[in-house]
């Protein structure tokens, strides 16, 4: 979104509403809310130009807690509402907030199409790998074997990787962060916002009630260094709490490998350098998974393309300029008429 930056002195507090936040105590959504509220003032868009759109789910309650415009719609359809909103007023700064069920189960088709069209907005997918609001059934991102009320013997369908899915649809910005990434998340949000087109951000989120700790092996302080790779454009792919590990390409198998710097004579030069504009690299990064690989965090892909609403309204604008004072009476009299 490129709404003109305005010098405001808003603070995080200005973005809080007077409504009690009703998530379960300890829910990862609180941390995300804080991060978003802290990020908004830095973005410099007037509050009244911001709109938060959501579907249904715990995550989807988000708009009630943001003192901007907000629309809590129906399950899975937030991208479609957002598209209409942007077509009607491209100047608005729109943020879609969705859960893994909302975005990838009932709403997968709308997500595909908003990404394909590249509507200029931010899409935040709170991935807790579970249906929180309906009390804990498995979701399209739940791992194989997840036991839930609807899968008492364990789930049998392979999960979808949200970032890989987004890239497969042709998304032009794909980022990943996590609920307790108090510093990391705002940076990714700002990048998504700066991107012209749909800024898709997966946020790993802990559901303390129905899926507690499912990302513990990635986000817990003790393991984060080894389990996460924070990508930076133009920088080699290095990770590890001692920054001693890296990622290199095996060009034969077209796969990524984790290597230790210094071991077997491996140096930084052997590592892949992150290129945000490379979709294949982004796909490979998106698919890295523990235990053998770290999880890639940050901006995996950013390659702007024309936005949908700009193109649509551009055609309308051009037509209006070509016929500046078209009246309805003219329309009614167009083509064959006769007078009695």
């Amino acid at each position: 979104m490129n709404v003109p930056k305005i010098d405001t002195k808003l603070t995080a507090k200005d973005f809080a509403t007077d409504q009690d936040v009703r998530w379960c105590p300890g829910c990862g959504d609180y941390a995300i809310l804080k991060a978003v509220q802290r990020t908004m003032p830095e973005i410099g868009v007037p509050k009244e130009n911001m709109v938060f759109i959501s579907g249904i789910g715990c995550a989807a309650r988000f708009p009630y807690y943001m003192n901007t415009y907000g629309f809590h719609t129906i399950h899975g359809r937030a991208p479609a509402f957002a598209t209409g909103l942007k077509l009607a007023n491209p100047e608005l700064d729109v943020w879609v907030v969705s859960g893994d069920g909302d975005a990838l189960s009932i709403g997968g088709n709308h997500l595909l199409h908003i990404l394909r069209r590249n509507v200029n907005l931010q899409f935040l997918l709170f991935n807790n790998e579970i249906y929180g609001l309906t009390k804990g059934q498995y979701s399209p991102t739940s791992r194989l074997g997840t036991r839930t009320p609807s899968t008492p013997q364990g789930s049998v369908d392979r999960p979808t990787n949200p970032c890989a899915f987004a890239l497969g649809t042709g998304a032009r910005f794909v980022g990943r962060s996590y609920d307790v990434g108090a510093k990391h998340l705002p940076e990714v949000l700002k990048r998504a916002h700066a991107h012209q087109g749909t800024g898709f951000v997966e946020i790993l989120q802990n559901c303390i009630v129905y899926n507690d700790g499912v990302f513990g092996h990635i986000t817990e302080k003790q393991v984060a260094g080894e389990a996460q790779l924070h990508v930076e454009n133009g920088e080699p792919l290095i990770y590890g709490k001692d920054k001693d590990k890296g990622i290199r390409l095996n060009p034969k198998t077209l796969t990524l490998e984790s290597v230790t710097l210094g071991r077997d004579g491996i140096t930084e030069d052997d590592l892949l350098v992150h290129d945000e504009t490379n979709p294949v690299l982004a796909t490979l990064l998106a698919q890295m998974e523990p235990p053998h690989m770290p999880v890639a965090m940050g901006v995996l892909y950013d390659s702007p393309a024309p936005t949908y609403e700009a193109a649509v309204t551009g055609q309308v604008q051009a037509a209006m300029e070509k016929k500046p004072n078209a009246t309805i009476n003219e329309l009614l009299h167009s083509g064959h008429t006769w007078t009695v």
Binding site: A80, F81, L87, A88, V312, L331, L332, T339
Partner: protein
């Protein structure tokens, strides 16, 4: 009616033409034969000749079925006359059949004694068999009772067009123009505008233009020659006296699309039209996609749900969100419409009804989505429902839908059907300056703001749109507090909100015209109540019977919900009530439930409009045997 283009005085000095009050012609041929073009050219010429008219394009379900098959037959029917024409005609007087399949499919419609005009050149053995005839219908008694005029049109067209350099195939594609020329001669229509149109259409392929023009002229000349030889006769259908003004032909889809544009203009709102293609709704999307110069934004969504949601999103942003579909697509939109109802956002939902259930008969007409429109939502969610009654009327109905949606902050259902959408009729072009605007004012005052504060009169809530400083607020589908609009699970509040939403919609009954009789008045022995596209045949039938002295009246209802506030009293004071519908009695159910009147359903579910004759018979039967 007299138009400057009507050149009666220029008609050829040959035998005086017999006069006819009205005539029904049906052009039928293969999908590739261009029958729809032929029909619309004839309609234009007929309109210019000052006749009233109504058309009925009868497309095949297939895009372009194999040549010569019955399911590849395309037909176009036109009823035109010197009097008021409100249906496309019960039975054709003339059937043009360009191949055996066209004959097979359509012959049963022809009135006894009518004229069938055949291209004998197309009656090859193969074609005859493919049409499903066990033997040549011209040889057995199949065509007994009709006048048959066999002309080897194929041959004549080849003779005209081949010398101009056209291939056999291309030459044969001029058959329709040859026939049009002949029919122009028969009814004394002026061919010039068609000649001009051909020249323009085929400007880039002059030999094709020339061939078509030559074919048309040849057909015309054939008529003249045959008349001289006494084998054919020409007719005269005088112009109709009508209100002076500028006229045009208009289809329902066109009028509806333009009405939406006009309505938004009158409301001073931008239009965001969101749709997913579906027969017979798609023409709305096509027409509106070509009206960008009016600021119309169109969005071909990924499905009907997205279309409805995008339209609601657009309304939330302060535009008039409009979505359009047909039965199966409307079914998909129901959840989203419920949200627009609950969040109280304007939305116009256009349903161009078609034959059902399920995929049903996509290219045939029906009125069977009334239940879905009135009652098809989860929970208590009453909406205004408006039905247009004919092609031109779609314009006004669409304006009314936009007006109610904006004024009452509510989704509005606007019903059309496959017949109305595709049929054309002459239309007295309204002057926009004569239509009172109804500009929307967005709420902008932060003082004491709540998104759910209501107008005392209309009970409509505030419309405060994103971008307005100080009015930041959240809305959604969970029940909202009556005062603040915040989420509320309070039992009493839910009752209050349910009641006020219903009261708001019911209140619209005070903002729409009272019901009046189309024909007759209160207290008739039988009152025929109709809605939607049955208007034409019912009115004609009732008028005819009244002229015969029958005690019958006609009420035509445009506002299906809320019903006009005086409708109940009009019905209570009446004798029998008959409700003809192209469904299994849906409006009859509604009337019975609201007024406890013993409304009787006259149901027709064939995908075809009612004929005047069958309505007259049904009415007569109920009046005790007929006059």
């Amino acid at each position: 009616m007299s138009t400057p283009l009507l050149k009666e005085d220029q008609s050829r000095p040959s035998a005086p033409r017999e006069e006819r009050d009205s005539v029904v012609v049906r052009f039928a041929g293969d999908s590739g034969d261009g029958m729809q073009l032929t029909g619309s050219q004839f309609s234009q010429a007929t309109a210019l000749a000052g006749n009233d008219l109504a058309t009925f394009p009868d497309f095949p379900a297939e895009i372009r079925a194999p040549v010569g098959t019955t399911y590849g037959v395309s037909a176009f029917q036109i009823n035109f006359g010197a009097t008021s024409i409100e249906t496309s005609g019960d039975a054709p007087d003339v059937l043009v059949a360009l191949n055996p399949a066209a004959l097979a499919v359509n012959i049963k419609r022809l009135r006894k004694g009518g004229l069938v005009l055949l291209d004998s050149g197309s009656f090859t053995e193969r074609n005859i068999r493919q049409a499903g005839f066990s033997q040549d219908p011209r040889q057995d008694n199949s065509l007994g009772g009709y006048q048959v005029l066999e002309i080897d049109i194929s041959q004549r067209v080849l003779e005209v067009a081949r010398p101009l350099g056209l291939s056999q195939k291309d030459a044969l594609r001029c058959k329709n123009m040859w026939v049009l020329g002949l029919v122009y001669w028969m009814y004394d229509r002026e061919p010039q505008q068609t000649l001009d149109w051909l020249a323009a259409k085929f400007a880039k392929v002059p030999e094709v233009a020339e061939a078509n023009i030559a074919a048309l002229k040849a057909g015309h000349a054939y008529g003249e020659t045959m008349e001289l030889s006494g084998e054919m006769r020409g007719y005269r259908v005088p112009a109709r006296e009508v209100k002076p003004g500028a006229y045009r032909l208009i289809t329902g889809a066109q009028a509806l699309a333009w009405g939406l544009v006009a309505g938004c203009k009158l409301a001073e709102l931008r239009m965001t039209f969101c749709s997913y293609p579906i027969t017979p709704s798609s023409p709305l999307l096509h027409i509106l996609s070509g009206l960008k110069q009016y600021g119309v934004v169109t969005f071909q969504a990924e499905d009907e749900i997205a279309a409805a949601c995008a339209a609601i999103g657009a309304s939330y942003a302060g535009s008039m969100g409009i979505t359009a579909s047909s039965g199966p697509g409307l079914a998909l939109k129901t959840e989203a419409i419920g949200l627009a109802f609950g969040a109280e956002l304007p939305l116009v939902v256009v349903d161009t009804q078609r034959g059902g259930p399920s995929t049903g008969l996509p290219t045939k007409t029906e009125q069977s989505d009334l239940y879905l429109a009135v009652w098809g939502r989860n929970a208590d969610a009453p909406l205004p429902v408006i039905a247009s009654h004919g092609p031109g009327d779609c314009f006004e109905a669409a304006i009314e839908a936009v007006r109610l949606a904006a004024k009452y902050m509510t989704p509005v259902m606007l019903l059309s059907d496959g017949y109305i959408a595709n049929a054309a009729e002459p239309w007295l072009i309204p002057d926009m300056n004569d239509i009172a605007p109804f500009p929307v004012t967005f709420h902008t005052d932060p003082e004491d703001f709540s998104p759910f504060r209501r107008d005392q009169d209309t009970l409509a809530r505030n419309w405060a749109i994103p971008g307005t400083p100080g009015l930041e607020h959240r809305i959604g589908g969970i029940e909202r507090d009556y005062d603040t609009g915040h989420i509320s699970y309070e039992p009493a509040n839910h009752q209050k909100m349910t009641d006020v939403r219903a009261a708001k919609v019911n209140g619209i009954a005070n903002d729409i015209p009272e019901q009046s009789f189309t024909e007759g008045g209160p207290g008739a022995a039988l009152t025929v109540v109709g809605w939607g596209s049955t208007y034409g045949p019912i009115r004609q039938a009732v008028a005819a019977l009244r002229a015969e002295g029958e005690d019958v009246a006609h009420l035509h209802v445009r506002h299906i919900w809320p019903l006009p506030r005086n409708l109940g009293s009009l019905l209570e004071g009446t004798g029998r009530v008959l409700v003809p519908e192209m469904n299994s009695g849906q409006f009859a159910t509604l009337l019975r439930s609201q007024y406890l009147v013993p409304a009787e359903s006259l149901s027709k579910v064939t995908g075809q409009p009612f004929t005047i004759a069958e309505l007259k018979d049904a009415i007569r039967a109920r009046l005790g045997g007929g006059a």
